[in-house]
Symmetry: C2
C-alpha cells in the first residue's frame, strides 16, 4: 500500500519553516505498513496543487495533504480540492459547533472568516479538529483516499492519531513492513560497509540495508517487506544478530533511538545518574537528554554557564583558572566536569566549553575550538577538538562528540 | 527563475530523518532571486528518480538534488543521473585527490568503494567537496542546470555557499524577490486578518501577504516579485509601515527573527542581561537563546534544575517550599525566578517548572501543568498554564509562552 504526502504552503518553499510534519506522518504510516512513495511541497497556487494531486494519484492509493486550511486569503487548499473533485460547498454542523466552541472558550467573537471554516466540499467526510478551528477532510474518490489536514503540527498530529490511522486500518488490508535499526558510534560509513559486506550480500531481495550517517554516528537500518509478519520478523532479527555480533562494541543501541537515550537507558539500568556543565552548547545537550520521557530518572540537571561568574558560582571553577588559562582550556573543562560531579552529586558528568562562533575566535583559539570533559567513577577524559566555523554545527558536533565520549567511558567499565 | 529541489533517500520517506536541507537551500536561493517551485522527496529507486527528474525539468530551470551519493550500495543517485543523461563514467582527478587527502588525514587506508567516489558521469563538472568524500556534480543539459550534492548537511551547505550560488549568479540574469516579515505576538491569525483587511486588499498583484502562525506568534510576510529592486523595496517598506502602525504593540520585531532574538536585541541595546531557571523545559529555552550568535552579550546562563537538590543548590529554592508545595507550584516558580535574579545577577530572569509528561501527572496537577515566572527591575509575573499531554509540545509551548511573557514585561516598562 502506497501513500504520498503533499504539503501546501509558500512558507516551506521559501525556507521560512522546516517541514517536520512529513517525517512524523511517514513514521506513523510506516508503522501500520503503508509506504510513502513521495513527499512533495508545493506552493499556495491553484494550478500547482491540482497538478500535484493528479501526479500523486498516479503513484499512490492514499494522499495526505497538509496546510493551506487557515481562515486567511492565502489559504486556498479547500477551494482547490472542491474544484479537483468537481463539487460545491456545504456547511458542516459539527465543524461549525467546533469553531463556535473554541471562540466561546477564549471569549472571542466569531468572525465571518471563522464561520467559513465550517464550509467544506460536499463530498467530504469531516474529521473533527480537537485543537483548532480548521476541520480535517477525508475524501474517497475513484478508489483513492485523500485526507486534507491543517499544517499546524499539533492539530495535524492529533487528527492522524485519533482519526486518520484508525480509518486507514478499517479501509485497507495492510501488508507488513518491519524496520530494525542498529546505532553505531565512532566508525565511518565505508568502513562499516567493508566489515559487513558479506552479510549485506546475503540479504534476500525483500530486505534492504540502509546506512544513515549523522555526525559521528551511523545507523544501520534493515527494512523488510512481506505478507507474513512472523517469518519476516525472524529473518530481520537473524540478520540484525549477525550485524551486532560482527560489529561488537561500536553498537551503541539495538533499536532506533538517539545516542543520549541509549546512554540514559544504560545508566537507568545500573541506577546511576548524570549532570552537565555546558558553556558553548548553551543548554542544547541538556535539551537532548530532557526531550526524552523519563529522563528525570537519570538526568539531575546542569549548569548553562555562559558568563565567567556562573562558571565560578555554579561549577566552582577557580577564578584564577579562568583568568590564567581562559574559559576555553583544558584546565577550565577539567574543573567544570569535576565541579558538576561534586556540586550536583551525579555518577557521571559532561563538561563542554568552546568557541561556537562566529565571533570570539583568536589566533591560538580559533572559532570551533572546543574542550570536552567526561568523568565519573574515578575516571576522567578531557579532549580538545577543532570543529568548523558554523555556530549551529559546532554546537551539535560538540554535543554529539561528548555523547560518544561518555558512551565510551561507560562502556569501558 | 524557478528551481526545484529533489531529495533522494528512503530515510526521509520512512521518517527517520527530517529534511532540513531543503528549507536551508530554499532560503539561500530566494535570497538571490530564485523561487522554489516544488520540493520533492523520493526513494532510492532508479525509476522513481528518473520520473522525478523528468517532472521537475518541465517546471523549473534549475534542479538541485541531494542525497544518495555515499559509497554504499543503497546510494544510486550518480548511476541514475548518468542513465538520465545517457553518458558513461570517467575518473575525476580532483575528486580522487580529495578523497585520497581525506583518508590520509585520518590515517585510514583508501578502500575501493571510496576510490569509486571519484568516478563521475562524463558530462558533469565536478564541485569539490571540502568536507567529505563524495564530489558534487554540476550538469548543464538542454538548457537546464542540474546540481547533485551530498545529503550530509554541512557538506551540502558549504558546497552551495562556495560554489553553487556563485555559479548560478554567473549563469542566469536573476530577477528580484524581496520578503519583509513582521513578528507579532499574542493575537490569533483571524483577528490579525480582520484588523488589516483593508491593507491586504490594497496590495498590488505582485506583492503577496502570508500569515505564518506558530504557537502564540504569527509572522506576517510580504513577498514581492519584480524587475526593479528600488521601486519594489520602497513599496514593500510602505506596506510594512502601514501594518506596523496598525498593529502597534503586538509587533515584537520588524524583521524575520525569532522572538528570543528580538528580546535579546532589545536587552543588548539597553545594556541589560538575562538568566534562566529551567525545570521542565530542560535546557530548551537556554538553547533557543544560545543558538544565536552574540547571545553571550545578554545571556549570562542558567540552571537546568531537574532534581530537587539542584533547585535548592543552584537557585536557592527553600527545601520547605519544595516539600510543602511541590516543584510545580506558584511558590517554587516564584523562588526559582527570584533565585536566578539573585544568584546569577541578571537584569531579567525566567523560571519554568511543570510536568512535561507523559508521566508524573496527578489529579490536581495533570500532565501539561506549567508555572512560568518572569521578573526583573522590581516587577514580577508568575502564571499557571495548562498545556496538553504531549511532552515535546509542552516543552515548546512553555518556552514560547515564557518568551511572550518576558517580551510583555520588558515592553511595559
Amino acid at each position: 500500500m502506497l501513500a504520498e504526502i503533499i504539503t501546501i504552503g509558500d512558507e516551506i518553499l521559501i525556507g521560512q519553516i522546516v517541514d517536520t510534519n512529513s517525517a512524523w506522518m511517514a513514521r506513523e504510516l510506516n508503522a501500520i505498513g503503508i509506504r510513502i512513495k513521495q513527499i512533495s511541497s508545493v506552493s499556495d497556487d491553484r494550478e500547482h496543487i491540482l497538478k500535484a494531486l493528479a501526479e500523486a494519484k498516479q503513484r499512490a492509493d492514499i494522499i495526505l495533504i497538509t496546510g493551506g486550511l487557515g481562515p486567511t486569503k492565502d489559504d486556498i487548499t479547500k477551494k482547490t480540492l472542491a474544484d479537483y473533485f468537481g463539487v460545491g460547498f456545504v456547511e458542516n454542523q459539527e465543524a461549525l459547533d467546533n469553531v463556535t466552541r473554541i471562540f466561546a472558550k477564549y471569549n472571542r467573537p466569531l468572525l465571518e472568516v471563522n464561520r467559513q471554516q465550517a464550509q467544506v466540499p460536499a463530498n467530504c467526510e469531516v474529521l473533527n479538529n480537537q485543537n483548532g478551528t480548521a476541520p480535517g477532510m477525508w475524501f474517497n474518490h475513484e478508489g483513492k483516499i485523500y485526507v486534507s489536514m491543517p499544517g499546524v503540527p499539533h492539530e495535524m498530529m492529533y487528527m492522524v492519531e485519533q482519526q486518520v490511522i484508525p480509518k486507514l486500518k478499517a479501509t485497507f488490508k495492510l501488508p507488513v513492513i518491519i524496520h530494525k535499526t542498529l546505532l553505531t558510534v565512532g566508525e565511518g560509513e565505508s568502513f562499516l560497509a567493508e566489515r559487513i559486506a558479506d552479510i549485506e550480500d546475503s540479504l534476500p531481495p525483500y530486505i534492504k540495508l540502509a546506512y544513515l550517517p549523522k555526525l559521528g554516528q551511523v545507523r544501520l537500518r534493515l527494512s523488510g517487506y512481506a505478507d507474513d509478519e512472523t517469518t519476516l520478523q525472524a529473518e530481520i532479527d537473524e540478520f540484525a544478530t549477525q550485524l551486532t555480533q560482527r560489529l561488537g562494541s561500536i553498537i551503541a543501541a539495538e533499536e532506533d533511538i538517539a545516542l543520549e537515550k541509549a546512554i540514559m537507558n544504560k545508566l537507568e539500568q545500573s541506577g546511576e545518574t548524570l549532570s552537565l556543565a555546558e558553556s558553548c552548547t548553551g543548554g542544547y545537550l541538556a535539551h537532548l537528554f530532557t526531550q526524552h520521557a523519563g529522563s528525570s530518572a537519570v538526568f539531575l540537571g546542569g549548569a548553562v554557564s555562559y558568563a565567567y561568574s556562573l562558571k565560578e558560582s555554579m561549577l566552582s571553577v577557580a577564578h584564577d583558572t579562568l583568568t590564567k588559562y581562559g574559559a576555553v582550556s583544558e584546565e577550565t573543562a577539567t574543573e567544570m566536569v569535576q565541579g558538576a560531579l561534586l556540586n550536583f552529586k551525579s555518577t557521571y558528568a559532561i563538561a563542554i566549553t568552546g568557541i561556537a562562533g562566529p565571533g570570539g575566535g583568536t589566533d591560538d583559539k580559533p572559532v570551533g575550538t572546543v574542550w570536552i570533559g567526561v568523568a565519573g567513577k574515578g575516571k576522567m577524559v578531557v579532549k580538545k577538538f577543532t570543529f568548523g566555523n558554523k555556530r549551529q554545527q559546532n554546537i551539535e558536533r560538540s554535543a554529539i562528540t561528548a555523547l560518544g565520549m561518555l558512551n565510551t567511558l561507560i562502556s569501558a567499565e
